[in-house]
């Protein structure tokens, strides 16, 4: 099976352990998003996978090919791993035209000219940039550069792809378009992908599966809905969407103090509501209004669509859904 397997991976910078005991599977044709705050070790992980960095310990393989095995002292050089890699900073070579950038891997493989041109035309069509063949990268926008970088790694016919925050420098509207393009490419080319980001919106847009990472460890892994609805920790709950994290005994004195995650949209204001609080603050957020409600000693955040309550007013509400962590 063409799967990426990582076992027991440890990566250190000098004395600092960045990745510790990490296990990871990327299934055939899967687009796995690794989501985590800046500095949590996402890039380090990808460097380890691609061989740009030598892990201290562990095992990495793709299908039959073993990339790294600390026990058997195997460490395949980066050139041989055939991993499509896209960096945040585009990494296009400024001294080469778009065409020369893209066909670089083909030339390395000594593929004949006519075939190169066919591949080039195909890929340029796929990334919708056929007219930019002879342009130098400096004259391209960020989005265009990143599409070229993706194309360049695709022509190599990689076993799988790593994208390290590829759209972080791109403005929000274009970002959505490019996410769709990446997804389309992933499906068409049937390539497993690891897509790294710190932006949950990107993750939800594109992921087959999401992996939440913090401080070099995997905190939770699951389908996007699972991650959102059933966060397994306060960290995940806070990192994904907005949420109220309160102790159970705030609502029910008998229970002991496990913690609850309540999404703002799961609290409903209702005249016959079970709980009574009062409005502390109101913030207009465009499509909805965010209300801060004082209840016992906690402040709960609620998203509502209408704005008929005033600050200081007493209101009643129900909790439709909550999740114990």
């Amino acid at each position: 099976m063409k799967e990426l397997v990582i076992k027991n991976l440890k990566i250190e910078y000098g004395k600092n352990t960045i990745i510790n005991n990490l296990d990871l599977h990327v299934k055939k044709d899967e687009l796995l998003v690794i989501l985590g705050p800046s500095g949590c070790g996402k890039s380090t992980l990808l460097s380890g996978v691609s061989g740009l960095l030598k892990p201290t310990n562990g095992y990495i393989s793709f299908g039959e090919r073993i990339f790294f095995d600390s026990e058997k002292k195997i460490n395949m050089i980066t050139e041989k791993r055939e991993i499509g890699f896209v960096f945040q900073d585009y990494s296009l070579w400024p001294h080469m035209t778009v065409k020369d950038n893209i066909i670089y891997p083909l030339k390395l493989k000594k593929i004949e000219k006519t075939k190169i041109n066919l591949i080039l035309d195909d890929i340029l069509k796929d990334i919708e940039l056929s007219d930019k063949k002879d342009v130098y990268p400096n004259n391209l926008s960020g989005g265009e550069k990143q599409r070229i970088a993706i194309a360049r790694s695709l022509v190599m016919n990689p076993s799988f792809m790593c994208l390290d925050e590829p759209l972080s420098n791109i403005d929000p509207i274009l970002k959505m378009r490019l996410l769709k393009l990446i997804k389309k490419i992933q499906i068409e080319y049937k390539i497993p992908m690891i897509y790294v980001t710190h932006d949950q919106h990107e993750a939800f847009e594109i992921a087959d599966r999401i992996l939440i990472m913090d401080k070099g460890e995997i905190i939770q892994s699951g389908l996007p809905e699972e991650i959102y609805n059933e966060p397994n920790s306060a960290f995940v709950a806070k990192f994904i969407g907005r949420s109220n994290i309160v102790s159970e005994n705030v609502f029910d004195r008998k229970k002991n103090c496990k913690r609850l995650v309540i999404r703002p949209e799961d609290i409903e204001i209702s005249e016959k509501g079970k709980y009574v609080g009062f409005v502390k603050k109101k913030i207009f957020r465009g499509s909805f209004v965010e209300m801060h409600i004082k209840y016992n000693r906690e402040t709960l955040i609620i998203h509502v669509n209408n704005d008929k309550h005033f600050v200081g007013e007493e209101i009643r509400f129900n909790i439709n859904k909550s999740h114990v962590i």
């Binding site: 691609s50 061989g51 740009l52 050089i77 980066t78 050139e79 041989k80 791993r81 055939e82 991993i83 499509g84 890699f85 960096f87 900073d89 990494s91 070579w93 400024p94 001294h95 670089y104 891997p105 390395l108 493989k109 130098y136 400096n138 970088a149 360049r152 790694s153 190599m156």
Partner: protein, 571 residues
């Protein structure tokens, strides 16, 4: 209270009314423009005039004579060989060293920096002296060979075009090293890593990505090496002229001694045109911006090549640096050049003689220091005005002034000196033979150098600083000296020091313009040997000049840290 304030403000504004400040501005501009015209443009115009006007009539006989003369073509051919040779040697050497220093995990990379830096501080003429001391008959190489093989027949001549190529390459490779090094540092590691990821080997990546990324730098630095080489006078007159081979600069020098002024003028124009053309073409080279977005550099592992690199660098620096330095040092302590190196023949007298006894060398030191301080300071002030107007007014005339002031940078020193001779030899402006002709020619030479050092800083300054000062009624002179100058001060200062250093080693200008009483150190370096002293005194002077030069350049390095001067000046 409020009334009081109002009164004061009105008074203040009156005192510095716009009209007054405007006329002040015109006055200073006029003064600056006049200085630039007189010291830069006037001599150049004179060269052209001499080349086409004789007895009040226009004639082109000079051009015909020059272009019919086979000597011209011989000199041109030799110049081309010289330039190509120096390019072929200095560019690869500088590039390879810069690569090892900046792109590999070589352990002693700091040492490379220091060695290249000292190489950079040694004046080219001094290197050529060391070369003669090493290679000539009875020189150090001869003696060593004789020790090993007592019967050897030694017939290597230190004088040849090849010798000049080697010496100039050793002198100029540091320019390549500095420029390529700073280019290599701009390369973001991901550009190379991407190549590995796409299947490129180290060799392919170095040759296909890393080095091509600095091609633009290589081309523009190649042009600089080109202009420096054709402008060189000291080395070629020392190593090539003695065997009768001529290049353009020495051809001009010969024509001067033949007193054929028209030919001198025409040859100067020829040299100037070539220089200027190369200079202009070099400005045309388009840079594809490389920017290091993530500030990390990829270092290639040397691995098994480490030993080879060590050996190669040891050999190179021995030849380029240590042998010349040791040669000069030993010679400077010898009682008489050519004596065996034994205790009884060593002495401190040469230093004593040069620093304390000889009236001429003492006077030369005093002259060089005075000319240097005076010219560098004047150049700084003129430059300050030029830059201020360019920055804040940027009218056509400001830009024009700026461009004209940059002209001497692309002109060989010998041409500047010839222009000065022509312009200032006749009354009423008869400066020829006085110290002032050297001083104003130095000023012309220095203005573009200071400009180069300070204009980077100037372009970073916000225009609103001056505008807000204007609205507060601060007068022009204050705005220039109190607000503007401090912001570009480090540039002006490093430019000043560089100019001062140049005046301590400069040869062609002072050699052509000096008279008894206005000798400079450069003149002494060049002449002292023929003044019945041997190479030992030249070596002593050379050691002193090198020490000055190293100290000065270290100072400049300290000051320049932070602001970027991307082109260094050498002579």
């Amino acid at each position: 209270m409020k009334n009081n304030l109002k009164n004061n403000t009105v008074k203040f504004l009156n005192k510095n009314s716009r009209k007054l400040s405007y006329s002040n501005s015109s006055l200073i501009f006029l003064f600056t423009a006049l200085v630039v015209l007189i010291i830069i443009v006037f001599p150049l115009v004179y060269i052209i005039k001499i080349s086409v006007i004789k007895d009040g009539r226009i004639f082109f006989d000079g051009y015909i004579e020059v272009f019919k003369d086979v000597k011209t073509y011989r000199a041109l051919k030799n110049t081309v060989i010289l330039v190509l040779g120096v390019l072929a040697m200095s560019v690869p050497i500088g590039t390879i060293l810069a690569f090892i220093r900046n792109k590999t995990d070589y352990k002693y990379n700091k040492a490379i920096d220091y060695f290249v830096f000292i190489n950079f501080c040694i004046p080219s003429y001094v290197l050529s002296v060391a070369w003669i001391e090493c290679i000539s008959r009875g020189g150090f190489l001869h003696r060593i060979l004789k020790m090993i093989l007592p019967t050897i027949k030694y017939d290597i001549s230190p004088y040849s075009l090849t010798a000049a190529i080697i010496v100039l390459s050793i002198h100029l490779y540091p320019l390549v090293y500095f420029a390529v090094g700073s280019g290599l540092k701009q390369i973001s590691d991901i550009l190379e890593k991407t190549s590995f990821l796409l299947g490129g080997s180290k060799r392919k990546t170095i040759l296909g990505i890393t080095i091509p990324l600095v091609y633009p730098t290589l081309i523009s630095i190649g042009f600089l090496v080109f202009t420096r080489t054709i402008a060189n006078f000291g080395v070629v007159s020392n190593l090539v002229l003695p065997i009768g081979t001529e290049v353009l600069t020495t051809r001009i020098f010969q024509a001067i001694s033949e007193l054929n002024l028209t030919v001198v003028a025409v040859l100067s124009i020829l040299l100037m045109v070539i220089s200027l053309a190369v200079f202009k073409i070099s400005k045309r080279v388009k840079y594809k911006e490389i920017e290091n977005t993530n500030n990390t550099i990829y270092y290639y592992a040397l691995g098994k090549y480490r030993i080879g690199v060590n050996i190669m660098l040891s050999i190179f620096f021995s030849i380029a640096l240590f042998i010349p330095l040791v040669t000069l040092l030993i010679s400077s302590f010898l009682k008489r050049w050519g004596l065996p190196i034994e205790m009884e023949y060593l002495t401190l007298n040469n230093y004593k003689y040069i620093l304390f006894e000889s009236e001429v060398t003492k006077r030369a030191f005093a002259n060089s220091i005075f000319f240097g301080i005076f010219s560098a300071t004047s150049a700084v002030i003129i430059t300050l005005f030029i830059l201020y107007f360019k920055k804040h007014n940027n009218r056509l005339k400001d830009k024009l002034l700026f461009s004209i002031s940059n002209l001497p940078l692309s002109m060989p020193n010998i041409v500047l000196a010839i222009g000065a001779t022509f312009a200032w030899i006749n009354p009423p402006f008869k400066l020829y033979g006085t110290k002032w002709i050297i001083i104003i020619t130095y000023i012309a030479l220095f203005i573009p150098i200071v400009l180069k050092h300070a204009s980077g800083l100037s372009s970073n300054i916000s225009l609103s600083i001056d505008d807000s000062a204007k609205t507060l009624g601060v007068p022009l002179i204050k705005r220039i000296f109190v607000l503007y100058m401090p912001q570009i001060f480090s540039g002006l200062l490093s430019g000043w020091i560089i100019c001062f250093l140049i005046s301590l080693r400069e040869i062609p200008i002072s050699l052509l313009l000096y008279r008894k009483g206005t000798e400079t150190i450069g003149v002494m370096l060049f002449m002292i040997q023929s003044n019945s002293y041997g190479l030992e005194t030249t070596s002593t002077l050379a050691v002193i000049v090198i020490i000055f030069s190293v100290i000065g350049n270290v100072l400049v390095k300290k000051i320049v840290k932070g602001n970027s001067v991307n082109e260094r000046i050498s002579d």
